[in-house]
Symmetry: C2
Subunit: 446 residues, 2 copies
């Protein structure tokens, strides 16, 4: 059997390795358009924030290891631009421009996602850079090393933008952040996003929400980011306004695309063609709360989906329940986490959301070092189900979100969740864990 | 209606306050034998470890507040020694020795637990002290303040003993710990408890496991703890070998006692008498994994059970699912947590346990500050169910245990748990959370 994989990062290499472990004699070919494989993309902001670290530290496993130890035919610098469903062949070019064509019995599309770059003047200037693949990180690090970068502008205020803000402030840069919508983290209650805003400004970042960038232009010896009523000077501009799935070759081949043009897959990760799977940031997923299709490109899902594809290709049927959209990020001293649906998302899925926002503490009554934890919890009035949780604080947030995440998978009601036996010790929380206090308060409103 | 409560700590005062909020006109009488009410007993080791803190900081709400603001007839210094089921009356004495008698319509026994003090010579010496109620903490603090305490011996190596070890080391004392059984934390795999042992010894504590104390005797100007083949000198001896439920008045009144002589209650917290409830450390509970009775005295259960009793007394039917035995403690820089059953406990409950021990990391690949996390996970071969998890590490353990704790309440299989969407960001864990790595490895063995 010839198993062909397009894309050699999380989903692609997870699938390749697992398929090899299952079937020693399978022919496995991976075509990767860049020169990098199997790296931790999420680690890039932290790596960039420390000029003593090399970007290559983020590589989890070298290409040569996949080739020599696992016998995977890993072809870097190979760009696939066409899938021929009839002949079961993928084709494209290698770095020399030579045509490449590989036949498959089973195909995995793991092409990931690309940063969205607005089609506006100046976004192609050398000092204007996105951050998605390892080569972006390499470029940013090299640029910072070579040039005296004192002023940075970050376009966007999502996870990556916020993590890059911290990284660039760590390097001593002046950081200005700008985006068109007036609200920071619009999926979060304003009382909570205001705390994120304060953390950012206290740490020296300036936020300009509600300003649409019109162009970037050379100005004196550096750049100027131009909005209607705001000009921001910059030595470096990071474009972090979101990503879009790399689904064009799938769409061109006639495969069904769905939410945000991601590749539609079923619970076995199969696309609309029975010989083709898709996994990672290019593919969609079922949301375990709404049971509807969603597109939330995150690393765990990519790895897990890669494994599931390998199992299915190797004749071990594997189905994925779906995702809860659990995510956590760090902004300086703050931890921000979420799982499940916001009230607004829940309304769109035909739930009747009831929500509560509580402020509790990170440690027991009178325990030194106590800091506030804010929890926003959403339940469904009709069914009683827990629908989602958002949380922030200086400690005890990142892993605490896993309790409600598991509850969402189990389709627990808020009442059932309120009865769970969560850990307590004075250095780690109040007797009633913040999750339980929120659930108890939410129950009263339901 | 006359609602009478014996005991004014977590369970008793949770019940009193909640009953008052439900029914403004209810007569609520609380009889407490000590002078202290509503305090954080679990906070005592940390408070003792800091001589600048007053023990009274641990009081969550003053007795006067319950009396004045809530109209609760809170009688401290009142010791109940008899329950007359026929006449529905409790009786005893106040601090002056005068007889006290109170009639009830509904009674809550929330008498807590007492430290076990061996009936051996010298355990009644003034410098030999247990730690369970606030007055114990007060005595220990006062003793340390008054005397030059350089050497302490802790008898026992459970949670409290380990927390006291840290506290006394913080105060600069030489600490020797001693217990009869040769194994530290016998519920934990030796590979994990060895890490706890190393942490303790690295931080200057000496452990003598496998030595049975025979007596304590005056020696020079202080004390000597005498074992068969070991003498340990001490200025202060902490007795922390466990607690026993204060169930004697319940037993004397003919109420059914069960596991470890705790008071048997059903899911509504009712004892074998329909007018009498029991809650907190004196009462038993259903274990949500085994569905069998268990006695694990912990603070969250006490608070939750107090609430449930109040609701049931006030005509709002309330049932508690049970406990998972979730617990966490800190030993210097280590966090140690558990939930559910150990393999040995599972065997006794007719499960067929399969177990795995994995070593993962607290942060993502190559992220600075990464430390090991060890996870022991137990599943049932017949049903596939997740049965329990134990975990330790320097960070990311305390709240991470809540994910599997929720999974136990939901009676998830290991496979279902392995599919959960847990949070990931490089500062907080690997892409595959340690819980998921353990579940994936355990699945292979099942």
């Amino acid at each position: 059997m010839q198993f062909v994989i397009i894309g050699a990062d999380a989903a692609g290499m997870s699938a390749a390795s697992r398929a090899r472990r299952s079937m020693a004699d399978m022919e496995i070919t991976v075509l990767e358009k860049t020169g990098d494989v199997s790296y931790s993309a999420c680690g890039m902001p932290y790596n960039i924030g420390d000029q003593n670290r090399k970007i290559e530290e983020l590589v989890v496993r070298q290409a040569q290891v996949f080739r020599d130890k696992q016998g995977i035919n890993l072809l870097t610098g190979h760009c696939v631009d066409h899938i021929d469903i009839a002949s079961k062949t993928v084709s494209g070019t290698d770095t020399t421009g030579a045509a490449v064509s590989v036949a498959y019995d089973k195909l995995l599309i793991a092409t990931g996602a690309s940063p969205i770059i607005p089609d506006l003047p100046g976004f192609d200037l050398p000092a204007v850079m996105p951050l998605k693949i390892l080569d972006h990180g390499r470029r940013i690090k090299a640029f910072i090393k070579k040039h005296s970068v004192r002023k940075a502008v970050i376009i966007g205020m999502g996870y990556i933008a916020l993590e890059m803000c911290e990284a660039l402030r760590e390097l001593g840069m002046e950081v200005n952040m700008v985006k068109p919508r007036p609200i920071l983290l619009p999926w979060m209650p304003v009382e909570m996003s205001d705390i994120v805003r304060k953390e950012l400004t206290n740490r020296g970042a300036a936020l300009f929400a509600g300003h649409t960038v019109q162009k970037i232009e050379p100005y004196k010896s550096h750049l100027k980011v131009v909005c209607k009523d705001l000009d921001l000077e910059a030595d470096l501009v990071i474009v972090a306004i979101g990503v879009t799935p790399n689904s064009q070759i799938a769409g061109d081949a006639g495969l069904t695309l769905g939410t945000a043009k991601s590749i539609t897959v079923d619970r076995t990760l199969q696309t609309s063609n029975p010989h083709i799977f898709a996994a990672g940031d290019c593919a969609d997923a079922f949301h375990i709360v709404s049971n509807q299709k969603t597109w939330i490109p995150l690393a765990l899902r990519a790895n897990r989906a890669g494994w599931a594809v390998a199992d299915n290709v190797c004749g071990k049927p594997s189905r994925l329940d779906g995702i809860a959209g659990t995510a956590v990020f760090k902004v300086f001293d703050l931890q921000v986490a979420r799982t499940g649906l916001t009230a607004s998302e829940a309304s769109k899925c035909d739930f009747t959301p009831v929500e509560i926002l509580v402020t509790t503490r990170s440690r027991a009554h009178a325990h030194p070092g106590n800091t506030p934890i804010k929890v926003h919890m959403v339940g469904d009035r009709s069914s009683g189900r827990l629908l989602g949780v958002q949380m922030l604080g200086c400690e005890g947030v990142a892993h605490r979100i896993n309790g409600p995440a598991v509850a969402l998978h189990a389709k627990m009601t808020v009442e059932q969740f309120s009865q769970t036996d969560l850990a307590y010790a004075p250095p780690f929380g109040p007797t009633w864990d913040p999750m339980l206090t929120a659930a108890n308060q939410l129950l009263k409103k339901m």
